[in-house]
């Protein structure tokens, strides 16, 4: 079988992967041990496979791995700084926004990308955003609360850093 080699920077580390041209990014990421990237529908409908590609949230199940060549990737495994959780991860835990946790990485990464551009979102904006991440457990009440709480925590942190 034909193979090609791609280079990515993932969670801060440079990697070179040998892939088949038709390999999906989701499959390659899971094969390489990034199990936090979840398979839910394989058609870009549920958002469980969300990763950040050059800072943008994408569904890795509908993207060829080859398209990620030369790009910077962030998966849920790369979000916490050591044992220090990202404010979104903290908020999801604190607000009870995690039930089974299968859609959680996708939600958190989607929100992470969004908050970088919109640090002060309204509830409606957060609901629009999370519409790309289907969840069958929570009814979305607590995930929405968690994103809003994390946004506030991030703003507070930013202010403290300015001081």
């Amino acid at each position: 079988m034909n193979t090609i080699e791609i280079g990515v920077k993932i969670n801060g580390e440079s990697k070179r992967w040998t892939i088949a041209p038709g390999d999906l990014l989701l499959d390659v990421l899971r094969r390489e041990g990034y199990y936090g990237v979840k398979r839910g529908c394989e058609s870009g409908e549920c958002g469980a496979c969300t990763v950040l590609l050059d800072g943008k949230a994408i569904n890795s199940c509908v993207m060829f791995a080859a398209q990620a060549d030369g790009c910077e990737l962030l998966t849920i495994e790369g979000l916490a700084q050591g044992d220090t959780l990202d404010p979104l991860q903290e908020a999801f835990l604190e607000r009870g926004a995690v039930q089974c946790g299968y859609c959680t990485p996708g939600m958190i990464l989607n929100a992470r990308a969004f908050l970088a551009h919109q640090p002060n979102p309204t509830e409606d904006e957060v609901r629009d955003l999370l519409a790309g991440n289907l969840c069958r457990c929570t009814g979305y009440v607590k995930p929405v609360e968690a994103v809003l709480a994390a946004a506030e925590a991030c703003r507070r942190n930013a202010k403290e850093r300015e001081r």
Partner: protein, 772 residues
């Protein structure tokens, strides 16, 4: 009383939370196994056919294919896939692989190959010649004289009447409905229809199976029922139970869909055939067409009432279909009677139900377990009766509803596939649920003011009530084991299966509370048939009350051992000692105490004693949680759209062990319930093929679609529950459709009796009424 508790009733973070938010490998498929093969199942393209011939030689010859199994290669053992306690009350009408297919998606063959692509290619190379049989697709055709017989095989058992496609039949009566209807001043009778809904857990079913170094079959699976799966796999594959080890990792949602031995048998068979690890994972389309769904029903409900609003007779007649196999057929439908009718204390009640086979996707357990169908009918009809009698719907319900001290005889008649146990109401917060819910939706003012009108928008409020159970009385049981480590921490080993709802956390809270230690001292291992003691599994709203009861008993026994040793160490009589704040403390003024950590070290290295104990638990009653749900909804008379603006759900779940998790259970159930009412339906074409097997075409609600939700937990103290707890997992799934539709009636004066209700249905109805 609660103020004395330091752990129960507090919002601890999930014990498994950190690994979930950081994406650590925790789910079934999050492991790397060298030599892993991919298993795939060839689904039947026909709704009803015999396999005349099947040629797998080309598939077997394909490089990379390690096994191809057909019915000719596997044992023929009639069984049910329903993950229920032995002996399962469901018909034994299913085979690992069979020479007949009974729905589009039924198993024809299974392959294991080096990759998914090769496995899929191998499926294409299997040559099957079918002899088509006429299918039974309409529920009302199933029992018709001359209808094709779906289960004509001689070896299936426990089918009510296979020759008429009747999987199960139920008839129970208390009092005499005939007499009741004679005594009634008014009789109301209506027909309701419900559709096929799917669980749609975001993690599809996945099983990985391999032989361990001792030649035992390991089955790592997304299951709610590891112990039942172990028993059933051993039976189906005809290997000793001792040789089967079922592991339940983190599960990506179950909702009843994983209370089913769905892939474990065939995956195990492939592992045995290849002696390699094999994984079968459903793709989303397979999940829709080859997993389970909620039983569709046609319900005819008849109630007789006195002029003053007293219900004197209540009769529910149901025709349900279980699809091609009878998984949970009789028990789900039994619940439609036993948990629905007794919500009102009617002296004369009758429940009759036929559950028929059709050549359609298989139904099974689904959160609510027969109740969403029943409460849709009952709560719609009750609203209609109140309206006709010009009574407030809340007042009408208050007059008739079950209350504290009542003995519900119908639930005894409708046990789990046999006579059950009568239900005594020992805690009931339903009046408070109605009161607090009504206040939150501003009921008095809104009903007095009548429907609001704004151009083409009409707005109204509605209410519906329901109850559920807490475990299956006399059947569900659980056990736990707790051991003390030498640093004063504890290992809690529980057979219970956390499927994402937070059971591990709740059980740890119960253990910590009982042992008098902080929450972080408890490490939980659950759902592993080699290492954790027996538990029937996560279903029937049983975990908090039954598994929790087992944990509490176990912790009490361990605490007794700790106190006994502390008594020796401190020279204080045991009755003067209590465990609190990670210490054993003398109640008297002497002030003597020892930390659990010091005691544990002493036990381990001085006494040479492992402090460890276990206990089993079951209940002879199933205390119902109660729910009152209020909807504020707006109808757009131009587009037919129903917009739910606010849903208030007031629930009595006894004492919530972890209130935030309890709220989460309610909110998630409400979202599924709204989907059931208004968007979700598995649509089959004229050949029995599902035409919308994707999230694009089968609409589950997103964050954007959800209305404002208010959840109210009304606390009562249930004597049979650990620390007063009842269940919370299911009860809130029963009422969104009737609550909203009652609000819709309030707004536009139209009743809807067929789910799901879509904008086109609303427009059609308004057109018929002459309003649009």
């Amino acid at each position: 009383m609660n103020s004395e508790r330091s752990i129960v009733g507090k919002n601890f973070r999930k014990v498994d939370g950190v690994k979930l938010v950081t994406g650590r490998p925790a789910f079934t498929d999050d492991i790397h196994l060298p030599g892993l093969l991919i298993g795939k199942i060839l689904p039947s393209p026909r709704a009803h056919a015999r396999i005349k011939s099947i040629d797998v030689s080309k598939a077997k010859a394909l490089p990379g294919v390690h096994a191809v199994l057909t019915y000719q290669d596997v044992p023929r053992v009639p069984h049910t896939t329903a993950g229920q306690a032995w002996p399962e009350p469901s018909p034994k009408d299913t085979y690992l692989l069979d020479s007949k297919v009974r729905f589009v998606g039924d198993r024809v063959a299974a392959v294991a190959a080096e990759s998914r692509a090769i496995a899929e290619e191998a499926l294409r190379l299997i040559e099957v010649e079918y002899e088509d049989l006429p299918p039974v697709l309409e529920i009302e055709q199933a029992m018709a004289p001359g209808a094709p017989v779906i289960h004509d095989e001689p070896d299936s058992t426990d089918i009510h009447d296979a020759s008429r496609n009747v999987a199960g039949y139920i008839f129970k009566e208390i009092g005499s409905v005939e007499r009741g209807f004679r005594e009634a001043d008014h009789i109301f009778e209506r027909e309701f229809r419900t559709q096929r809904q799917q669980h749609c857990s975001i993690e599809p079913h996945v099983t990985i199976s391999w032989l361990d170094p001792d030649n035992r079959l390991v089955i790592r699976s997304s299951t709610q029922v590891p112990y039942h799966a172990r028993r059933q796999v051993a039976q189906i594959l005809q290997i000793p139970l001792q040789r089967v080890h079922v592991v339940k990792p983190r599960i990506g949602g179950g909702f009843g869909g994983k209370q089913e031995m769905l892939l474990e048998d065939i995956c195990g068979a492939l592992a045995l055939a290849t002696r390699r690890p094999v994984k079968i994972e459903y793709a989303r389309e397979e999940e829709f067409t080859m997993a389970r769904s909620r039983h569709p029903q046609i319900l005819r409900m008849k109630m007789g009432v006195k002029r003053d609003g007293t219900i004197v007779a209540s009769q529910l007649t149901v025709l349900a279909t279980t699809g091609a196999y009878g998984s949970h057929a009789t028990t789900v439908q039994g619940n439609t009677g036993s948990k629905v009718l007794p919500l009102y204390r009617v002296p004369n009640m009758r429940f009759e139900c036929h559950i028929v086979y059709t050549n359609a996707p298989v139904a099974g357990a689904f959160r609510g377990y027969g109740c969403p169908q029943g409460f849709f009918a009952q709560e719609s009809l009750v609203d209609e009766i109140a309206h006709e009698l010009k009574m407030d719907p809340i007042e009408f319900r208050r007059k008739n509803m079950i209350r504290l001290g009542d003995l519900d005889e119908l639930s005894a008649e409708l046990g789990e596939g046999r006579r059950g146990l009568p239900r005594r109401i020992r805690s009931c917060g339903l009046p408070e649920c109605l009161e607090q819910g009504a206040a939150a939706i501003d009921w008095e003012r809104r009903r007095k003011a009548g429907p609001a009108s704004n151009g083409h928008l009409r707005r109204g409020v509605g209410v519906a009530c329901s109850m559920q159970g807490s475990g299956i009385a006399g059947i569900d049981w659980a056990s736990a084991l707790i051991k003390l480590n030498e640093d004063g921490s504890f290992h809690l080993l529980a057979g219970a299966s956390d499927v994402g709802a937070g059971a591990d956390t709740v059980l740890a809270q119960i253990a910590a509370e009982t042992l008098g230690v902080s929450f972080d001292k408890i490490t939980v291992t659950s759902g592993d048939t080699d290492f954790t003691p027996f538990d029937v599994g996560a279903y029937a709203s049983s975990t908090t009350i039954i598994s929790g009861g087992a944990v509490k008993k176990t912790a009490e026994k361990v605490r007794e051992q700790i106190v006994k040793l502390a008594s020796k160490m401190l020279e204080v009589p045991p009755e003067d000692l209590i465990c609190r704040d990670n210490r054993v403390v003398a109640k008297s003024e002497c002030g003597k105490s020892v930390t659990i950590a010091d005691l544990a070290m002493h036990a381990t290295y001085r006494e040479k004693l492992q402090i460890i104990d276990s206990a089993s638990h079951f209940n002879t009653d199933s205390p119902p949680p109660f729910c009152a749900q209020f909807a504020d909804a707006e109808v757009d008379t131009e587009t037919g759209e129903i917009r739910v603006l606010h849903l208030v759900t007031a629930v009595d779940c006894g004492v919530p062990i972890n209130p935030r998790q309890a709220e989460g259970q309610v909110e998630g159930a409400v979202a599924q319930s709204l989907g059931y009412g208004f968007t979700e339906e598995m649509v089959l074409d004229g050949n029995g093929r599902m035409i919308n097997p994707s999230f694009l075409d089968y609409k589950i609600l997103s964050a954007k679609d959800m209305p404002k939700l208010t959840t109210i937990l009304v606390e009562t103290e249930e004597p049979l529950g650990p620390y007063g707890a009842k269940s919370i997992g299911e009860v809130a799934i029963n009422t969104a459709a009737p609550a909203v539709l009652n609000a819709v009636f309030n707004a536009i004066g139209v009743r809807f009796r067929k789910l799901p209700v879509r904008p086109e249905d609303v427009l059609r109805a308004l057109g018929a009424k002459g309003d649009a």
